[in-house]
């Protein structure tokens, strides 16, 4: 699980005493697999020992012990020194050190992981030891390492062994163990502040693993939210299909029952039949799923298989029981009222149970959030505790659908009353059919749930897509960003001017960005991202991009006497307006800062301090720009052709990388697929509902035809029955989905996926929501004429005879 360890021995931070720019020096020894990373000596030679004696005696208060080091080309250029030169350095006590350059090297492979442990060995690193301070490092060899030990004081040569994990060996199961082992080692570690020989363990692996596991847990839970939606509608559609099948088989079942078949026998027969069909279908589905995604969990199929296996027999037994039950309408009005009240009570009990479950789910989700819920399980599998909050959107949809089921009959009866006042018979008969069938719960439940959850999935997918775009803006800070190396830092303003002159470039802003800058309050050390920038230019840049505006930037341009104004932002709220800070300097008094407002998030950092470059320069610390933000359609090309040694970060590249990242791409694919599937299930539900009611509908329509209704008018009456639940679902479903998205997207922790500083608000893709509505309405508008055309072939006598 871990790569071969790399040993690092590094000396104290020494100050380079010559040159205008503040620089530090550190000599470092690297050894992996018993030797350091390969280098080619392009001038001079590898560092050697000062003396060849096996035993040496260093005189007390003698001259500093000489030590040989190698320098990289970039570091040598920065120091303007070469082989044989001494590096003018002194330690923290002002004592000079005798560090000699034995040669200049070029790394055989600058991507060797060993170099990452001491990047200053490859090139100067700005800001490593404070704002505006550049660190340079010298490479020790095995032979010069003993001299380094003699050149510095006791315990000043820090020896560390680095263990890096093998990414491919890290799995969901192994990371939990690894993280806990790291935590145990850190707990047993000596204090890092103690300068003794005790073993000290330092690692951020446990933190990183916890973050990654948290992200995976959150995305798993977000995926589960979508899957539960699909599952809910699937089960409802299966119930609808079972109802239709049983309706078709009711005459046979009734006949069997009337001939003396026992209900258990009928139930067993139906159960065997439905179980075989359900299990076979589930096996085929799972086989296909496993072929597409090996390791896919079968647990999600259980509710669907259960619904498929049980619903048919249950409905069938009820139908058979009704055939042999003498349950006429009681003559006694009180008895009829009692029967009605019993039915209403049963229904109300179910509705209250769903409502309570939904409220509990929302409360759990909002109190704990999805991440904590998912992390609590920490197994990657759904548990009883996690199912409730994850089901919140689906339960919310069911509650909304139940409300609509209550309202639709009221609306249909109102429409009927209005129609009865009119002189249009088709309106009366259509409204009458609507009122007669408005109480059917399952079709409306399916249609509303499918449209609402499809809309929810569309909104989630759109929100993530938009969030990724915003996250890319936030991460890069512009269309393109140039991270200029220290060696080219002085040329940054000229580079910025060249870029600004390029075609298609809008805004160009230079800044000095220092990560983990040391800033003190009275009692606390903060390590925020320090941004020294022309506040006015930065504000203009924010105004021309989708990044949030920061009006407080204007306050940086009007510094009062004394402290330098700063904008601050911190994830824990410790940095806030009014806080007084100090920015320490090397060999100079610290600069006093006063927080005058809230800083925008820069590069997605949680803790940020922004200072106006001119104000800071007035206080005695001129900025050394290392970052160039560029906007405009020509930004990418202009930055790429800047001709300086710098890292180019393009927003388009960042966005592309985020979109193809496995977790992001997976959730987005799932959201779009779930939306499409839910819509398809909704259309299937519409067809099944229409088919389930067709026999009774056409029986009634045929009776109306015996009263003189013309065939060409029949479809309008049929539409009166079919359309109301469809229209309700088409209108209310997307609105319900949007409402639930607003209520639940916050706790879904989508920021972990999008890279935004805060959880994104729901983005409503109105054209997709309209598509859901239109698809349903078009399907309904197709079903009615198709059904009418098919039924036209049936003789009226046959329809009436079938209904007798």
């Amino acid at each position: 699980m871990l790569l071969s360890p790399i040993a690092v021995a590094s000396g104290p931070i020494l100050t380079v005493t010559e040159g205008n720019a503040p620089r530090t020096f550190q000599f470092t020894y690297l050894a992996g697999d018993g030797r350091g990373p390969d280098v080619t000596w392009i001038a001079g030679s590898a560092p050697g020992p000062t003396v060849t004696d096996e035993y040496v005696v260093t005189p007390y208060q003698g001259p500093p012990w000489p030590v040989q080091v190698g320098l990289s080309e970039a570091d040598a250029t920065e120091l303007h020194l070469g082989p044989g030169d001494r590096i003018p350095v002194k330690d923290g006590h002002g004592r000079k050190k005798d560090v000699r350059i034995s040669g200049i090297y070029r790394p055989a492979d600058s991507a060797d992981p060993a170099w990452r442990l001491a990047p200053a060995l490859l090139h100067p690193v700005p800001g490593a030891d404070g704002v505006g301070i550049t660190r340079i490092a010298g490479l020790l060899s095995r032979e010069s390492l003993p001299d380094a030990r003699l050149a510095v004081g006791e315990n000043e040569l820090r020896r560390t062994v680095h263990f890096a994990p093998v990414p491919d060996a890290l799995t969901w199961d192994t990371t939990a163990t690894l993280a806990s082992q790291v935590v145990k080692l850190k707990a047993a570690s000596g204090s890092s502040a103690a300068r003794d020989e005790s073993l000290k363990w330092e690692s951020r692996l446990d933190v990183i693993l916890r973050e990654v596991r948290g992200r995976i847990s959150a995305v798993s839970a977000q995926a589960a939210v979508l899957l539960i939606g699909v599952l809910t509608v699937t089960v409802l559609v299966l119930l609808l299909a079972a109802g239709l099948l049983v309706r078709r088989r009711t005459p046979a079942l009734s006949a069997a029952r009337q001939r003396g078949a026992a209900l258990p026998d009928l139930g067993a027969e139906l159960t065997i039949e439905s179980t075989v069909v359900s299990l076979a279908a589930a096996a085929v589905g799972l086989a296909l799923a496993r072929a597409a995604a090996p390791g896919v969990s079968w647990a999600w199929a259980v509710p669907a298989v259960l619904a498929g296996g049980v619903a048919g027999p249950a409905f069938g037994i009820l139908a058979a029981a009704r055939a042999s039950r003498d349950r006429r309408q009681p003559a006694n009005a009180a008895a009829r009222r009692w029967i009605r009240a019993t039915g209403q009570l049963r229904r109300a009990a179910v509705e209250v149970a769903v409502l309570i479950a939904a409220v509990a789910a929302f409360v759990t989700l909002h109190q704990g959030g999805l991440l904590s819920v998912a992390s609590d399980g920490d197994t990657g599998e759904l548990t009883g505790d996690t199912i409730l909050p994850i089901s919140a959107p689906a339960l919310g949809v069911l509650v909304g659908a139940l409300v609509l089921i209550r309202l639709l009959p009221l609306g249909a009866r109102f429409a009927l009353r209005q129609a009865l006042r009119s002189r249009r018979p088709l309106a009366v008969f259509g409204a009458a059919r609507a009122a007669a069938t408005a109480g059917r719960a399952l079709p409306l439940l399916v249609l509303v749930s499918a449209t609402a959850l499809a809309s929810f999935a569309f909104i989630l997918g759109t929100t993530v897509s938009r969030g990724l775009a915003d996250g890319a803006w936030s991460s890069v800070g512009a269309d393109a960003r140039l991270d200029v190396g220290a060696e080219a830092g002085a040329a940054t303003p000229a580079v910025a001017e060249r870029i600004a002159a390029a075609p298609g470039v809008g805004q160009v802003v230079v800044a000095q960005v220092t990560d983990s800058a040391r800033v003190f309050s009275e009692s606390t050390l903060f390590t925020p991202r320090l941004v020294v920038v022309d506040a006015a230019a930065f504000q203009r840049l924010l105004a021309t991009t989708p990044l949030p505006d920061a009006p407080d930037l204007a306050r940086l341009r009007t510094p009062g006497p004394g402290d330098v104004p700063a904008l601050v932002r911190s994830s824990d709220g410790e940095l806030r307006a009014g806080t007084r800070l100090q920015l320490p300097r090397d060999d100079a008094p610290a600069i006093r800062l006063t927080a005058v407002g809230t800083a925008p998030s820069v590069g997605g950092a949680g803790d940020v301090v922004i200072v106006d470059a001119a104000a800071l320069a007035s206080a005695g610390l001129p900025a050394v720009p290392n970052t160039v933000w560029v906007t405009g359609p020509g930004a990418a090309r202009a930055v790429s052709n800047s001709g300086v040694a710098a890292d180019v970060v393009l927003r388009a590249d960042v966005l592309r990388a985020q979109r193809v990242a496995p977790l992001t791409a997976g959730l987005l694919r799932l959201a779009w697929t779930a939306a499409a599937m839910l819509l398809a299930l909704g259309l299937l539900g519409l067809t099944l509902a229409a088919a389930a009611g067709a026999a009774e509908r056409w029986q009634t329509l045929t009776r109306l035809r015996t009263l003189g209704l013309r065939h060409r008018d029949v479809r309008w009456v049929a539409a009166g029955e079919v359309l109301p639940p469809v229209v309700v679902a088409a209108v209310c479903g997307p609105l319900l989905g949007a409402l639930l998205a607003r209520l639940t997207l916050g706790p879904l922790d989508l920021r972990l996926l999008t890279g935004q500083a805060a959880d994104p608000g729901a983005v409503l893709p109105w054209w997709l929501l309209a598509l859901v509505s239109v698809a349903l309405l078009v399907a309904a508008a197709t079903v009615v004429p198709v059904e009418s055309a098919l039924r036209r072939r049936d003789r009226l006598s046959e329809v009436l005879r079938a209904g007798e």
Partner: protein, 240 residues
């Protein structure tokens, strides 16, 4: 009962194919029914009663033969013509009532009048009259589910009479009713035939019900029983 008959059926054939089997439901049926009479169509289940009523009412078309209702050859009518026939001249009463459950008794009775686009005032007057005729004036606002089976069938009869048809076809209208209620429904039909001048053709296999008919037509295996056709029914001794 003299002059042109209201209903003239001539050599009507109707057969159905069920897989390889052909069922001859009607085999050359011919008879006339005079206006204003009540005729009972009698026969066992499957004898062709319902098929004959459907052909007469234009719900089904004969394979051969002609049916004239009030002088119109319904075999030659298209869909719209048949709809007009059912709206103006022929109405039905079914065994299962066929009422619209969400409409009140009065609104059910008014349904044919709405199709005929009768003026609201005329519609209300006619509905009131008919409900009074069938003895349900006090139940006008009740829905079918709030009425007994006999009451529902009375509403169905009132609805059938709403558009003042010339011919009323009733297919076993007492099939779902107990004997006493069934008899009262038949008596109602009998009375309506007399008071409204409507010709009533009612299918039944209940001997007691036949007692109220002016005439009994027996049908057996698609043929009319020539001996009985056109003969007045001789009431059974224990019939009312």
């Amino acid at each position: 009962m003299s002059g042109e008959p209201l209903l003239r059926v001539r050599d009507v054939h109707r057969s159905f194919r069920t897989g390889p089997t052909v069922v001859h439901a009607l085999r050359g049926v011919s008879f006339d029914v005079a206006a204003g009479s009540m005729v009972a169509l009698v026969g066992r289940s499957g004898s062709g009663k319902t098929t004959l009523l459907n052909v007469i009412g234009g719900l089904d078309r004969p394979d051969a033969g002609t049916v004239h209702v009030d002088g119109a050859d319904i075999s030659a009518l298209d869909e719209d013509g048949l709809s007009r026939l059912r709206r103006e001249k022929v109405s039905y009463v079914f065994q299962s009532f066929g009422l619209i459950p969400v409409l009140s008794a009065a609104e059910n009775v008014a349904a044919p009048l709405r199709l005929a686009r009768a003026a609201p005032a005329e519609r209300e007057r006619r509905v009131e009259l008919l409900l009074d005729l069938v003895g349900l004036a006090d139940h006008a606002r009740q829905r079918p589910t709030e009425l007994s089976g006999g009451q529902q069938q009375r509403v169905a009869i009132a609805r059938a009479l709403a558009a003042s048809p010339r011919l009323l076809l009733a297919d076993e209208p007492t099939g779902q009713l107990d004997a006493e209620t069934g008899l009262s429904v038949m008596a109602l039909l009998r009375g309506i035939a007399e008071s409204e001048g409507v010709t009533v053709l009612v299918s039944t296999h209940d001997a007691v019900m036949m007692a109220l008919a002016d005439r009994v037509i027996r049908i057996h295996d698609g043929h009319l029983d020539e001996q009985a056709t056109g003969q007045p029914y001789a009431p059974v001794p224990d019939a009312r």
